[in-house]
Amino acid sequence: MRIRVDNKNIEVDSNKSLLLNLKDNGINIPHLCYQEGLEPEARCRICLVEINNKLVTSCNTYPKEGMEIKTKTKRVNRARKINAELLMPEHMDKCFRLNKHHDLCNIIGDLGLKEVRFNPTRKYTADLGASVIRDNNLCINCGRCVQVCAQVQATWAIDFAGRAHHEHVTPYFEHDLNDVACIKCGQCIAACPVGAIDEREHLQEVLAALKDKTKHVVVQTAPSIRASLGEEFDMPPGTLVTGKMIAALRRCGFNKVFDTNLGADMTIMEEGTEFLTRAKNNGPFPMITTCCPGWIKFMEHFYHDLIDSNNMSTCKSPHEMLGILIKTYYAKKAKISKKDIVVVSVMPCTAKKFESTRPEMKSDVDYVLTTREAAKLINHFNIDFKNLKDEEFDPALGISTGAGAVFGATGGVMEAALRTAYEVGTGKQLTKIEFDQLRGMDGIKTGTIIIKGKEIKFAVANGLANARELMKRKDDYHFIEIMACPGGCIGGGGQPLPFAWEKIHKRMAAIYKEDARLPLRKSHENPIVQKIYKEFLDKPLSKKAHKLLHTHYYKRGL
């Protein structure tokens, strides 16, 4: 179909909105309330274009044959500018300094907004949760957080309340986020175009620990950080920055830089063995992975029947496993007292912050930094990230496999677990270790594998709305992996802003590139894993392993 835009003919797809069609043709229409993959709600009234002398929002208008669109008229510009100006009073001091992370700051330059004629009026108290904090004074009521929480995560922790200019986003009955069924996944942070929702920073605590000479500060980095940290330093999405990341963290003053991928390998050993045991005892099935703290809290709120029915694996998440190993195994080897060690995790995730404050895990990991905070830390020390020379992880707990690396993408845990479960269970080598049916961005992926003559059905879901779908037919499967965020950890709530599907695809490609690059690609082949079991834990699921590497869950109300 052809339409005319600013007196030029362009070819468009009639199933896409004008906004997306124009974007495909290189015409960027400023917009705030529309996020890729969500239904347009047309709240912000910024993405205006002129059709037949009428102003319409391009996010929810679809092209028609012979349509004449004007995107640059005086009227369009004035309307966009005034609507942006109406949203600006609370952002006066913040947004006129360009902040590339926030859509609002990015568009006011394009709109030519130079002064704001109105004074701030909002008077809300900030909601300071354990991992997600909200400041309604900065909110522009675009509704993206509400939409993401409901449509992508199916959690409904927040919604609009109030009328007219008293309308604001809030958890039910004006409770704090801490008191409601919020799973802390941080997708609302990724959706927010103005930074009204943010993570609870652990940065100051980490800086204090780094200054304290009596502390031995150890950092570990999650599998997906190496595929996304570069974006914070203007590198193209999908750049692998493993070596630079390690070098930068060393320069920040961390005594040791360890790899959470090793924790992932440990998780696979425990979880894979747990699965093989279940396979031997014929159940209980399905076994459901527990690597994702967002999913765990979701399960505790909405699906806690799974606790009684023993469907949940009991394994801790990888960084908690490595955390406790650092404080026991590594402390013993390095002859450092446990209380002098501070473990900092760099995670793509805000739910991990909540996880680290759980009473049953409290001592394992002291602080959690998101990818964004890690970048802030590196910038704090004025490190020229781009030009650093690559370095290697500290060898004590720094060798990992491709199986650990793929944890960062949806389907990765399952893929890694199957590699080990198959080879350990059958004693045979896999002919092809890539499980193509588990890769890609589909919401729910399924497959089967035959281990010792038994057909094992497995399923993988990312995004909790998909998880809800999968839970309806969970009994069809033996092994289920669930990741809360779209695309898995690479799309996590702690990853660099702003959110874009394109970036997630590129990070995913980087993760699989890392897997293919590594000499070792199966967890049970990891020499350090073998060493830890030999010297310290005896064997997977041993009594000691149970004490250190496994956990339990609570039933939570709504």
């Binding site: 005034i82 609009f160 007219a164």
Partner: protein, 372 residues
């Protein structure tokens, strides 16, 4: 008055004899236009719902009469509710709806019991609103009945295609539905007779039934004003115009002056009152009743009120008048639903016809400041 006539179920019987298609055609032939404000042909609306293949369909009687100065629906529901119920039954039959809702304005709750008695066994449910002006909008009414926040929906899809619970729905005003049995039963039914709600600076406010095309000054004379009438407001959303001898009450004649004929609301303002104060008062109404969904209406109505209060009470300068004008225009052009789009009509027309009063007020304030 035509609207007080009874049909006693005979119109419904006639419609049933005619069949669905013929009833719709009859309504189309009689040119019954919607009386809620937009003036959409009722027969056409019904036909659209009737033609939808979906089995489940709904009819909604919109009795959420929230427009300031409008009380014709209340008049009908008080004086002749039987006619409305019969109209609903005819509409249900014509479009093939098994269930109908009466969305009753919160303030009209006292009418609920009486209506319930009249409904008897018919499948008509009364939903009492909670007082939001926005819920009179045809898509917000759907959200409200479904139990959600009263906010307008995106159109398309239109309610006639995907309305209540996603099913085709016809939404008709009380006055429209009351005219349905009359149009079907009486051969001499006059489509041009409208109900006008007259209020403001008149000594005899109330409902007047007059044909379209009556001179506005004749209606005002019926209201017996004490002082000379300066301006006429067509409800809050319809805007205002100077009172003059020539104006006729027809949509064309009024729309030519940027106003909306709407639901026949006439608020007279006499010389003793300042248009600035009237505008501030109306702005207060919109600032309170905006639903909060879209930027221009949510933030804009608040800023407009602040600017007007500044002009009428504190201190403002001529620059603020330009800001006011600009804001009002953008709110009108870019708001999400009818509420926002019409929320500044009163101001834009006031600025057009009575700009002097605003300017004088600003000057007055400045002079007073100087004396102090």
């Amino acid at each position: 008055m035509q609207i007080k006539k009874q049909t006693k179920g005979k119109a419904l019987a006639k419609a049933k004899k005619l069949g669905q298609k013929a009833t719709i055609n009859l309504i189309k032939e009689k040119v019954l236009l919607g009386r809620g404000g937009a003036g959409f042909p009722t027969g056409t609306k019904w036909e659209m719902v009737y033609n939808e293949p979906e089995k489940e369909k709904y009819l909604i009687c919109n009795a959420d009469e929230g427009e300031p100065g409008t009380f014709k629906d209340k008049f009908i529901l008080e004086k002749n509710p039987e006619l409305v119920i019969e109209g609903i039954k005819i509409a249900m039959f014509a479009i093939g709806a098994k269930k109908a809702f009466i969305y009753l304005r919160g303030e009209y709750e006292y009418l609920e019991n009486r209506l319930k008695k009249l409904i008897k066994k018919a499948n008509i449910e009364i939903v009492v609103g909670a007082g939001a002006y926005i819920c009179g909008d045809e898509t917000a009414i759907l959200e409200s009945i479904e139990g959600k926040r009263g906010q307008a929906r995106l159109k398309p899809p239109f309610p006639t295609v995907k309305g209540l619970y996603g099913k085709p729905t016809a939404i008709n005003n009380v006055e429209t539905l009351a005219n349905v049995p009359l149009a079907i039963y009486y051969k001499d039914w006059n489509p041009n007779l409208r109900l006008y709600s007259l209020s403001g600076n008149v000594t005899k406010p109330g409902i007047y039934e007059l044909p379209l095309g009556t001179k506005l000054c004749d209606l005002i004379k019926l209201g017996k004003p004490k002082n000379k009438i300066k301006a006429i407001y067509f409800g809050c959303f319809g805007g205002c115009m100077p009172h003059c001898e020539k104006t006729k009450l027809t949509p064309d004649d009024i729309c030519g002056k940027d106003c909306i004929h709407g639901a026949g609301t006439i608020i007279a303002v006499d010389e003793k009152h300042s248009i600035v104060d009237v505008a501030t008062n109306i702005a207060k109404f919109y600032e309170f009743e905006s639903c909060g969904k879209c930027t221009p209406c949510r933030e804009g109505t608040m800023r407009i009120l602040a600017l007007l209060e500044n002009i009428s009470l504190k201190n403002a300068d001529m620059k603020d008048l330009n800001t006011l004008q600009e804001l009002a225009e953008v709110i009108k052009e870019t708001s999400f639903c009818g509420l926002g789009q019409t929320s500044t009509n009163h101001l834009l027309t006031a600025l057009k016809y009575f700009r002097k009063e605003f300017e004088e007020r600003i000057k007055e304030q400045k002079d007073r400041r100087r004396i102090r």
